[in-house]
Symmetry: C2
Amino acid sequence: MAIYNKICILGIGLIGASILRGIREKPGIASHSVAYDIAPDVVTRARALGLADLYPPDIAASVRDADCVVICAPVSHIAETARIALPHMKPGATLTDVGSTRQSVIADIAPYLREDISYIPAHPMAGTEFSGPEAGFAALFENRWCLVTPTSQAKKPDVDRLVRFWQALGAKTRMMEASEHDRICAIVSYLPHLIAFTICDTADKMSETYRTAVLDYAASGFKDFTRIAGSDPVMWRDIFLSNKDAILETLAHFQDDVEELARAIRDDDEARIIDAIERGRRIRKSLVDNGQAQDPAHPTPRPPK
Amino acid sequence: MAIYNKICILGIGLIGASILRGIREKPGIASHSVAYDIAPDVVTRARALGLADLYPPDIAASVRDADCVVICAPVSHIAETARIALPHMKPGATLTDVGSTRQSVIADIAPYLREDISYIPAHPMAGTEFSGPEAGFAALFENRWCLVTPTSQAKKPDVDRLVRFWQALGAKTRMMEASEHDRICAIVSYLPHLIAFTICDTADKMSETYRTAVLDYAASGFKDFTRIAGSDPVMWRDIFLSNKDAILETLAHFQDDVEELARAIRDDDEARIIDAIERGRRIRKSLVDNGQAQDPAHPTPRPPK
């Protein structure tokens, strides 16, 4: 008996396609899958990849009879997609979205919610710098966190079922408040992305000589910052705008810390420079101790034993 | 016939040990190697690793009869090491250092230079986040750039010989002015390190709840920024201080760009957010096209073909 009989994926990008592949490859998650995307060519590509069982022509037809509807659209499209989907969903079904900002999305969806549908946002903290249905793969969620932020109207058994769904896809789940979710993501994800985009932007604005040099000598540290700078611009514009307060607050802390280190350099204050670097190393060391860094897929060359 | 008959390495950290291992493993670089370090325990460890042929007790004895003396000390110790070494070097020998800042080191060494010794700084742009003699490995320089910035008193045949030395170690070499070197390193290396230290510092200062979250959810982007934050604090303090002007100037550009993106977020200026992200993606794309990113040793998971 699968966790859901029929599941509906709205939006077939990296995340939607990875969920569909997960359902295909791991037994017991869903008996039937339907998928829809606002872009007809994305549907064509998903069909060619064999991602879902059915590709109904519109949202209304797609969500009909689904036990669970997963909105995998960019953050700015989630509320509108929910508005169209909700009236056609069957009583007792679950609505979820994988958006990476929570408070603003929950507020935007609130007016359309129905008593008989549990709305349970769940954000899988997984991704690559690639997008589109071709980028999806079943292992994307394995050992990654999925942050579940149920709204007060969601029924407990429905929450438990969605948790089982994400665990079956390989994710570790954690429940939290929407506000906590947004502040955590600001530091672990939004700020690094904002900085990565900016440092690449700074390099791009330099004279031709130095831009060429950046390309030649990127391995010296710059390259580490560029992977996530390849991410989808529209997705990130939406994340930045929909989570403005948390990101601007976290950015202000970062800017203060940059300014403090810059001042220490300007003033030749050796002790304060060392302090700042040592504080930074603590987190790094904890990550290594936790086994989060030194990812075996990303080894740093070391001498042979 | 080796490039140098006798080579002397002063400072047996990651770089010094990697040069020594390179000499051991690749024929024709140097017939004899001697190594010295100011820290007796480092010498003991180097000896246990079998890195060099001889470990004389002081700098004077180490540099005697050497055809090439390579100072691999932290930037702040290079000039002092050169001051002690130069009077004991044999006429016609080459003095080089691997320091990662150039203009300030060249200025500091200038008073001690001798007419009959070519001083040719050469900065291998290679490193890992590990330090000490155990961290060294012969392949460290393979396919990495070594930026050679000869001073005007260096003799052309000596420059050519040092270039052959670095190429024999596997490096690609490029000649440039010291000032150009420092500005290039500011953007490709110093700024990314400064930012990496700072973002880790910002995270470290957060409340316990959020610090724990950073450790749990680091894979969402934060982790990419932490590898280089593990680097040696003293080394980086020296680099920041000895190359103050270039780093502060580059940092100011970066800070302006961060502020511009923050303002666009604050003002809901969608077009300017997208612009900034797209500009950043251009450099990333060029890196991928150049084959510099998507390093085969650091694959991002992609769906099976």
